[in-house]
Every structure is written in structure tokens, then in C-alpha cells.
Symmetry: C4
Subunit: 208 residues, 4 copies
């Protein structure tokens, strides 16, 4: 059992390292999608400012995805920090979560390019949903397989699960609002994310 624990602990480090690489890469790729104005079209300072202002939809979707990435990066950390050691199945569940994270630059590009299309918005929301469901699967599996640290706060997994479910319910509401009006849906999701990123302590409802 000692051998196993030591090996598994290293596995946790590998999951964390792979995750940090993927999040770092995804964050940087998001910026690469924002193309600078074509120099052939620019002949004055005013045109350059106008060219930059025309990047607004890209910048909105960039900020949106940055917050999505940040929320899931912090969320996965919190999950892994309460796990004593990994096993093969937890590793694969985290790998599944990471594949959905790697898909986010694709969904973001789609949303930025087709900002007026319901289809693009639904794909984007679906990507968030898959990230949420897969991290939920990680947390539930870790609890059932007895991988949680002995000294983790009581009801940790329960609180974590409730947090994910409330967040995903709010995102689903945002998706439903998006079927009425896409800017409304995006705006709602941004507000939900700002709540999780900036003011995690204010609303008791969302508190971990």
C-alpha cells in the first residue's frame, strides 16, 4: 500500500502538470485568435484605432473564455487538493475533463466568428456543460473510490457537487436566455462568471 500511495501521489502531480500546460496553452491560443488589423487597410492613426475597435467581438469572447478557463482551473485545483492520491480511473476522468478544456479555443473561435448565430452559442454553452459534468464526475468518483484526504473538511464533496450543479443550472438558464436573445444570454453568463471569479464570497447561495 505504501508503494501504491507513492506512485499514485506522483500521478496527482502529473495530472496537475498536464492541466497547467493545457490551461497555459489554451489561454495563449485564445489571444492568437485575435488577429491584428491588416496593414494594407491602415493608412492613419484613426484607421488603426478603428481597426482595433472592430476587434470588439473577439475581445468579448476572449474575456468570456478567459473567465471560463480561470473558473475551471481554480475548480480543478480545489478538487485535486482534496484528493489523497489518484488511481487509473481518476486519471482518465481528469483526462476527459482536460479534453473538453482543449476544445474551448475551438468553441470560442466559433462563437467569435458566428456571434449572431444560436448554433455557435449553443455549442459554446455545451462545451461549458461538458467541462462541468466531467469535473463533477471526477469529484463524485474520488469520493466513492475513497480517494479523498482524511483531513479534508467534512461535507467537502457534497459542497463541491452543489456548487457545480448550481453553476451549471445558471449556465443552462443563460443558454435558454440566449435562445431569446444571444447578447442577453452571453451577458447573463458573463455575470454568473464574474460572480464566481470576482465575488465568490458575497452570495451565500454559491458559497462552497
Amino acid at each position: 500500500m505504501t508503494v501504491y500511495n507513492r506512485i499514485a501521489a506522483q500521478d496527482l502531480g502529473r495530472i496537475a502538470a498536464l492541466s497547467d500546460g493545457i490551461f497555459a496553452f489554451a489561454m495563449t491560443v485564445l489571444v492568437l485568435e485575435i488577429h491584428i488589423p491588416e496593414s494594407a487597410d491602415i493608412h492613419s492613426e484613426a484607421q488603426l484605432w478603428a481597426g482595433l475597435a472592430a476587434l470588439a467581438p473577439r475581445i468579448v469572447t476572449w474575456l468570456l473564455s478567459l473567465m471560463t478557463l480561470g473558473i475551471f482551473w481554480v475548480g480543478q485545483q480545489t478538487h485535486l487538493n482534496h484528493v489523497a492520491h489518484a488511481d487509473r480511473d481518476l486519471t482518465w476522468l481528469n483526462y476527459l475533463f482536460l479534453t473538453f478544456v482543449t476544445a474551448l479555443p475551438f468553441s470560442t473561435r466559433l462563437l467569435a466568428e458566428f456571434i449572431g448565430y444560436e448554433t455557435a452559442f449553443i455549442v459554446y454553452w455545451f462545451n461549458i456543460l461538458l467541462c462541468g459534468l466531467s469535473i463533477l464526475a471526477c469529484v463524485i468518483y474520488a469520493e466513492r473510490a475513497g480517494l479523498i484526504k482524511a483531513d479534508a473538511p467534512a461535507h467537502f464533496s457534497q459542497a463541491y457537487r452543489r456548487r457545480v450543479i448550481v453553476a451549471q443550472a445558471l449556465y443552462a438558464l443563460g443558454a435558454a436566455l440566449g435562445l431569446i436573445s444571444i447578447p442577453l444570454g452571453i451577458g447573463f453568463i458573463v455575470l454568473v462568471q464574474l460572480n464566481y471569479a470576482i465575488a465568490p464570497r458575497l452570495p451565500v447561495l454559491f458559497k462552497l
Copy 2:
């Protein structure tokens, strides 16, 4: 000898960190290969759905390569977790393994672009074969050079070698099937991979 071990242990960490960076990068690059539909061609929600549906071959090869990467990422971890310390030769053998991993986005792109061509399929399979042979070389070298941890399970290297050889035999069978029908070959390889990724405990034959 104490000095050497301490240095070598750090080397193991460097191998793991380089590997995680490469796998993280390869996973994200695979998604970058899936290009969103051209906005000039899209004028309705239905066209956008159709444009996304047309990405199916890219998505199939993406999932295929994600599983390939996952299997080798988990496999290399298991190898490194049983190694007490690295030496220069083990470091270079792992580096060789990683170069074949970095080639996978190339093979995937080739397969996605030329999905109907035997040549592309054979190149893809050959890439998997090189990954398998090089990780096998790492495991065999580690054992012969006496680098395995003293408390590793008995017959660990033997079981690992058998696992790699069985897997590669199945991949080779998939490649042979691909010479009859490429979808059949891809389908068979996907099934073999799903077995390793999702249900590693069910078939006694493939159990480590």
C-alpha cells in the same frame, strides 16, 4: 552514490515535466487542426449546423488521437513511477519516445486530410508502433540497468512488456484490417483503445 541519486531523481522530474508539456501541447494542437466553417459560406443556422457536421472526419481522428495520447501518457507515467532514478541513457530513450509523440499531430492531420488513403492510415499506425516500441525500449532498459524501484511489484517489467506487446499486436491487426477496409481498421483500433482507456480491468488478457 547519494549525489548521483539525488541528481538522477531531479532528472526524472525533468523527464516528467517535458512529457507533460509535450502531451499538453499535442492535445491542444489536435483541436487547432479542426477549422471552423468559413463564414463566407454560412448564411443560416442550418448551414452552420451542416458546416459543423462536415467536420466529422476531423472529429473522429481527433478522438482517435486523444485516446492514443491518453494511453501513452498514462503508460509512460506508470513506467516512470516504477523507476527509482534516471540515467543519461534512460533520459535519451524517453526523449526518443517523446519525439514520436510530437509526430502524432502530423500523422493525425495526414489521416484526417487523406482519410480514404491506405498510405495515411499506415503512416498513422506506424507512428503508434514507434511510440509503443520506444516506450518498450525504456522499460526494458530501465530493468536491465537496475533502475527499477526496490519496492516495485514483482514481475512489474514483465507484465508491462506483455501489455505493450499485446496492444501492439492488436494495433498491427487493426493495420492489417485497414488494408482490407480503412473504416474497419480505424474502428478496430478505436475499440482496442477504448478497451485500454475505459475498461482496463475487464479483460484479463490485457490486465497489467
Copy 3:
């Protein structure tokens, strides 16, 4: 409290790992922006040398951004090295800092492409300003939240804050000079950066 500290300590490692991934990626992306000459235009060694010489503006902005990245990479390390453990807010502040770092390849590309434009230079300077302000927020927050290591040098945070503010004042002076002459502004900023990178001990004024 022990549990919390252990979890928070792991969080520090995750912040560091995400940061190193982002800096590594940004450094490499900067080089990818330097395109080799078009082979269709090159028919002799002399033309190839000329084609390489024509890359000069790209190489100047590359070196400028390499120094910017290096200064902030070293600066953030120094910050994190004096923090005993992270909390959720410090993690998000560091994430904010990193988002401004990921924007640097964009600003660099803009500056290289529009090297004669005030707009591009101001955007570049503004990016440096945002990096500086966000790392300042990290340092101030860490001090107020009592996250500084007990054995950190006395007045560490005060010295760090003064260093950032002096540097940003010099960058702002460079930006003002850029409104008179862009090469003058860039040259001044390069000198300030060389001072921080190469000769950090010489000028007492900038000493930490």
C-alpha cells in the same frame, strides 16, 4: 489550519506551473511571429541576407518583448517566493496578471506591424502598464491578507511596491517620449529594461 495551509501551498505550485507554461509559450510564440523571407523572392545569398536584414523591426520588438517577459517572470517569482501560501483571491489576482502576459504577443505583433504608429506604441505600453498594475495588486493583496512568509526580509513588500512604481513611472516617461518620437520612446524603454535585466545592482534608485 494545517489542512488549509497544505492545500494553499499546492495552489502556489499550480500558480507557478501555469505561469511557467504561459511564459514559455509566449516566448516561443514571439519567435513564430518572425517569418522567414519568402523563398519565391530569394534567388541569391545576397538576397537572403537582405531578406534577413529586412526582419530588423521584428527582431527589435522581439528583443523588447523578451526583456519585458523576463522582467515580469523574475518579478512574479520574487513575489511568489515570499508568499507563504495562496488563497482564492491571490490565485485570481495572479490569473489576472497572467492574462495580461498572454496579451503581450498580440501587442508585440501590433507594434512590429505598425512600428511607425503612436497607437501601436501606446497599446504596447498600456500592456506593460497592466502587467505592472496587476503584479502590484498581487503584492499589496498578499501583504494585507497576511500571506507573506514570516521569515521574509523586513519591508519586503514596501521595497517591491516602490520598485514596481519607479519602473512604471519610467515606462510612462518612455510612453510620453514616444508621443514626441516613437524610436526615442522605444529606445528609452529598452534602456530601462536593460537596467532591470542586466544591471539590477548598479543604480541605487532601482534597487529592491
Copy 4:
């Protein structure tokens, strides 16, 4: 002094993590430079094989750069493994080394695109020279600043310096041969690299 050492030790970890990210990224970028054949030009298996065979110059330069990266990755590890702790200057010297490493994909692309041009070959060799000189500066500085581990093998720095100087002399010989015939120069450099990568123990001359 305890505080300082603890901080500096973390710095060593940050240098290693940044390095692994950069090497991982550079290795993967090298493969991205190998473009698959254009599907519009391919109508048969034979044409696809021919298209792949036409990638030969890219594959040669890819293998060349993979070995270059591997040699410097192993070399820098060996350097860092013998350092007890970093300081600001060693960090910046390693950063300088890493900037030359990030330039390697550029030099490789140039060499692959202009394989018949002396200019491209000299730029490539110059990049290797800069990597060698900067890692030499790291090793010399670490020794003079008293940063070497107390239990490092005697004459470690001296042996390391001799190894770098012999290798760079051989690379310079390869560059000189390249002025006579570029394939001869490349071939000679490949042989030198194979010696360092594959058979480090055979020639007593190059032994560390």
C-alpha cells in the same frame, strides 16, 4: 541565509519548469513546420507517397533540430542538477540561454526552406553557437558565484566547460565544412550530435 536558500531553491524549480515548457513547445513546433501534402495535388496512393517523400529536407532538418534540442536539454539539466541554488544573475543567464533555444525553430525553418544556401546554414550554426556560449556562461558564472553544490563531483565545472568547448569546436569545424559543401557540413554536424546523443561513453575525448 536559510530564507534566501529556500527562495533560491524555488527559483531553480522555476528555471527548470520554464525550460521544460520551452523545450516541449519547441519540439512540437518543429513538427508543425512539416506541412502535409496539399490534398488538391494528390489523386492516388502513389502521389501521396511521393508527396511524403518530398518532405525529406524538412524531415532531415527536423531530426537535426530534435538532436540539438535534446543535447541542450540534457546539458542544461546536468548544469542545474549541480547547482545548489540560483540567484538573480544565474536566472537571467539561463533566460538568455532559453531565448536562443526559442530561436531554434526559426533557424530550422530557414535551413529547411533554403537548404542550398550558405547563409541559412551559417545562421543555423550561429544559433547552436549562441546556445553553447550561453550555457557555458551559466556554468562559469555558477562556479565563480559559489553556487555549485558542496557534494558535486570534483572538477565538475572544468569537465563541463571542456565538453562544451570541444563540442563547439566540432560544430565550428562542421560550419567550415559547410562553406565547402552544405550537405557535408550538415552531415558532419549530425555525426557530432549522434555521438553526443547516442554514444556518449565511447569516445574518451568527449566524455564528461
